[in-house]
Symmetry: D2
Subunit: 161 residues, 4 copies
């Protein structure tokens, strides 16, 4: 699994996403809820999430679809529907459920919130995708999922009772 | 089913929620996306949602739990956990999935967003519940679900291609 | 959390479910997939699942609803709809998603399968509930969820690559 | 939408799935529950399901991924993971949730059941995929989803109260 995990992290990097970009989003989500939270705590939590097989599969599959669409390798009309990130195309929000579901309700509600507000790297990816040179239709939602899952895990870990 | 639907609407009213309260939230969500949208369009859409058996069941079950908790009828410690709306208690966000799921991805992401931002009647219910005289732990999430589902249905209906 | 976990196990016992009853189902599900699997492995896995806060919450909430319905404490008509376990009432299959989701796709597909085939204690609870002296509308689905989650966890743990 | 619907049906046919193949599965699922059910009723219900935009998107996306994998167009190692239909790869069961969720709990439990029992065309696709000449990793689960959704819709439509 170690190899797969490192590959997922490398793939994220190739597509423009550093772990610290995700950590910034997580920190913003949880700093008001967790006293003394540091960006390093967020990085460690993200790291433990990208270790899970189901998360790695989601990351690699989402990026593979985005890359195939970028190169027009999928049959039409679905290649174009994904490329323009049609607002009624919802498969890109379904696939990351394989990440979000694992981390429970707090992950789930934060996911929807991030998808609407698009902070940091999420908005950047969305914009790059909409500019149509690149396709990040699946990746931006996967980053929403990893971020919201990390927020949820931190919330659960910081409960002491 | 007609009788069950009217009962659901009456129960919502008894617990402090008018259909127009929900319509206000839906209108705010969709007014920037749908030209010439009126609050009446929102009311009609909400009406069509509360007609579905699975939605009625969710509304009646959620309110029944809230009422039972208010009267301390459930066994402890779950009665207290629900009453204080513990932030790590997530069943109240799971139950409304029976509504949200029916209306697809737009419903799903708006649900998470409303759960975080708590506009209008949602915030009012949340506050009343936290003040501990009443229990709206399930109801506020059900209103999030009906609102986000109505937003999704409007988005789909207004696509012409 | 220790106390809550023990309470959940005790509540299951009070409602007629021993951990070994669940282990028997898990063993049947996974024995053909995992060499040298023992019932003890299944018991240990179930034990680790009932340790999670979201699982405990689901168990305690589901049983609390069943008990309240048994004593006719919820308002009508929802008390009767739950009591007869109406085939179109689906909230009892939604609530255990808070367990199943955590354990991924294998948990999810096994859940549906167990819900249809009702082996062992699941069928026994279903029958006791339908006989109408007791109400197990939520509990039988929760046992489906714990069993299928244990099966999924065992499958993932036994992959070595 | 009409054109997209016909395209989805044509794509299914190209990949070896006739609407009547799906109807056979639906008929077997529901014949014991619905008096006087005919295969034609099942065909009409399937037809109404494939009309929905979210269903069409799922069908076209799933088949597009299968076809890309067959031609080794996705980056490795995910192309191989999907091609061998790894038992711990669960994205193929997540994507069809965009269909199943719309049709509620009965769709959801039947989905898991069909995924385990693989009747008719589902088993045939699974076998063809495992033989490794073709890839049907996503398609077989999409057929499970359409079949179980049709079963659920029929169950709801045949309730008269």
């Amino acid at each position: 699994m170690m190899k797969l995990k490192e590959l997922a992290i490398q793939k994220l990097k190739e597509r423009g996403v550093e772990i610290t970009d995700i950590a910034d989003i997580v920190f913003e989500l949880q700093k008001k809820h967790i006293q003394d939270l540091t960006v390093d705590d967020c990085i460690n939590t993200i790291d433990s999430i990208i270790e899970k097989r189901e998360v790695i599969h989601a990351v690699l599959t989402g990026i593979a679809i985005d890359e195939a669409v970028e190169k027009n390798l999928l049959s039409e009309p679905i290649n174009s529907i994904i490329k323009v990130d049609d607002s009624l195309y919802g498969i890109d929000e379904i696939l990351p459920l394989s990440i979000v579901n694992i981390y429970g309700s707090i992950a789930f509600t934060n996911f929807g919130h991030l998808d609407k507000t698009k902070p940091g790297i999420i908005g950047k990816l969305d914009k790059l995708g909409k500019d149509n040179k690149q396709c990040h239709t699946f990746l931006d939602d996967i980053i929403c999922a990893i971020s919201s899952s990390a927020a949820s895990r931190l919330a659960h870990k910081n409960r002491i009772d």
